[in-house]
Symmetry: C2
Subunit: 302 residues, 2 copies
């Protein structure tokens, strides 16, 4: 944050008083009050042409997605969001573009009591890139990792899946409140946000936990978007729910007794039990038949 | 950090055991042990064509600069570096480019006991962009801001200035150790790293502090690069020292008595007293004459 820019006055004037922030935008570093619990840190870079089409969605919506995608990572550890910094490469030195982008970032940050405490604004002759680094605090129950799932656990998701490309991937609400409510009600064993796709992200949990899972085809909630897409895509709504990325729901495991408790007294609406952990493999059970399931989520370049 | 990538295994395998890092690369967030002192946070994005020419300098040197520029911001608050996260947009999906870039980041991170605890690696059909967010802890004496300079303070720099474009802007050592040594010896009143240029960055201190300063032309140390550049640039070495950016030395103020103490017993080599704070204005004194000095540092697009 060594590169000073006039725009910082505008950003600073909109930084609300936050007792957790000792020094906000305008110095070489922001200074946060020492957290009393372990600090969660995540970073995601979003790029025009990859994560959104700027000409179609506009900078405000792009900014919202950039902040929400990072807060989704805080949610997936059952953390309390705290603050964020933002660095951007703007495709041209447009104050209007920068301001709309920051308004979008603030739309989501404000909704989760997150202070944007600093940033680095640049422009260049290339497409927009936004990098957000978000901070959070673990709760007293600790951060939820991917590695704690055990055979016999029940697998849940926080909402319906699939077809996010029709708009949800830009306009989702990170599941911060849901994660905290579930974590307060029961012991979360392992959790991940669904950015690569249900099968791929559950696969991450299984790989880190050293166990397997069977998913129940009939139990996986699908979105209206997945149904709509399936009319032309040649895939079923279930395939979209299993394989599409950027749902930004959470997939998590709890013990069977905690799972039963959640079904009796759901801490938040929308939770669905979609499967159970087993010793090994990833399986899809449909009509009483169990078949191997490929982790067919979003495939990155490497 | 929701986007998983095979490359993270490589990164993880090179993350040394660090008791400050509870969870490193590979989960949705990194988890750092709760810092006992205020947390410093800074972010800088470096772009091919703006901050370096990738084809000329190569990815390893670009990576070094990206980490060093961020640690320079930690240094300018007299902080102890702790950890960093890195997000990159690679111009193509080249494992070799990514690895060389991370090796460069690690060269500098390792030298300052900084763990790279996570990241987000992407590729696109556009130039390389690297965003680093670095964390540090304030010392018991507190973070040093830009706003604490007072009339009568002495102004120091940590080393010679000017001509960094000849290579120093890529290969500098962030002045972390120097800042901590000076802060341990005396009370630092205000500090800033020189990224925009001496006049501009001292100007930031003066603006935040509400005072002025006079610089003594004869006392400003200039580099051999500034002298070399002056042969063809039409500027004097002093003008290069005042106006060139990216020296990444520190400019700071201390009380006159602390300043005198530092001249008697320098806590680190290379310190130079270059001026004194006054009530208002920015002045250059040469041959007994005092003239207004423009903050002619690096000019950003906005």
């Amino acid at each position: 944050m060594s590169q000073e820019f006039h725009y910082i006055r505008w950003l600073r004037s909109r930084t609300t008083a936050d007792p957790r922030v000792l020094v906000g935008p305008g110095d070489d570093c922001a200074v946060l009050a020492a957290p009393t619990r372990p600090l969660l840190v995540t970073t995601d870079m979003l790029m025009d042409g990859t994560d959104f089409i700027l000409a179609e969605v506009g900078p405000r919506r792009a900014g919202r997605k950039a902040m929400a995608a990072n807060l989704s990572d805080i949610a997936s550890m059952a953390g309390v969001p705290l603050a964020a910094v933002v660095s951007v490469a703007l495709p041209r030195a447009s104050r209007e573009l920068a301001e709309q982008l920051y308004l979008g970032l603030r739309d989501v940050a404000d909704a989760f009591n997150v202070s944007i405490v600093g940033g680095d604004t640049n422009s260049w002759d290339a497409p927009l890139a936004i990098s957000v680094t978000a901070f959070g605090e673990a709760t007293d129950r600790g951060a939820v990792l991917r590695s704690g799932a055990k055979p016999g656990d029940w697998v849940f998701v926080t909402g319906p899946l699939g077809g996010s490309i029709r708009g949800h991937h830009l306009d989702f609400t990170p599941r911060v409140r849901e994660a905290l409510a579930v974590h307060a009600a029961v012991e979360l064993r392992a959790m991940c946000d669904i950015s690569d796709g249900l099968a791929a992200d559950l696969g991450h949990i299984l790989e880190e936990s050293g166990c397997g899972a069977v998913l129940f085809a009939d139990a996986i909630p699908t979105t209206a978007d997945a149904v709509e897409l399936s009319r032309t895509s040649g895939k079923s709504p279930l395939q979209h729910a299993l394989g599409d990325g950027e749902d930004f729901e959470l997939v998590f495991t709890v013990s069977a007794s905690d799972g039963a408790k959640m079904l009796r007294e759901p801490p938040v609406p929308g939770l669905a039990k979609i499967g159970e952990c087993v010793e090994s493999g990833l399986w899809l059970e449909s009509d009483g038949k169990r078949e191997p399931l490929q982790a067919t989520g979003w495939v990155h370049d490497f």
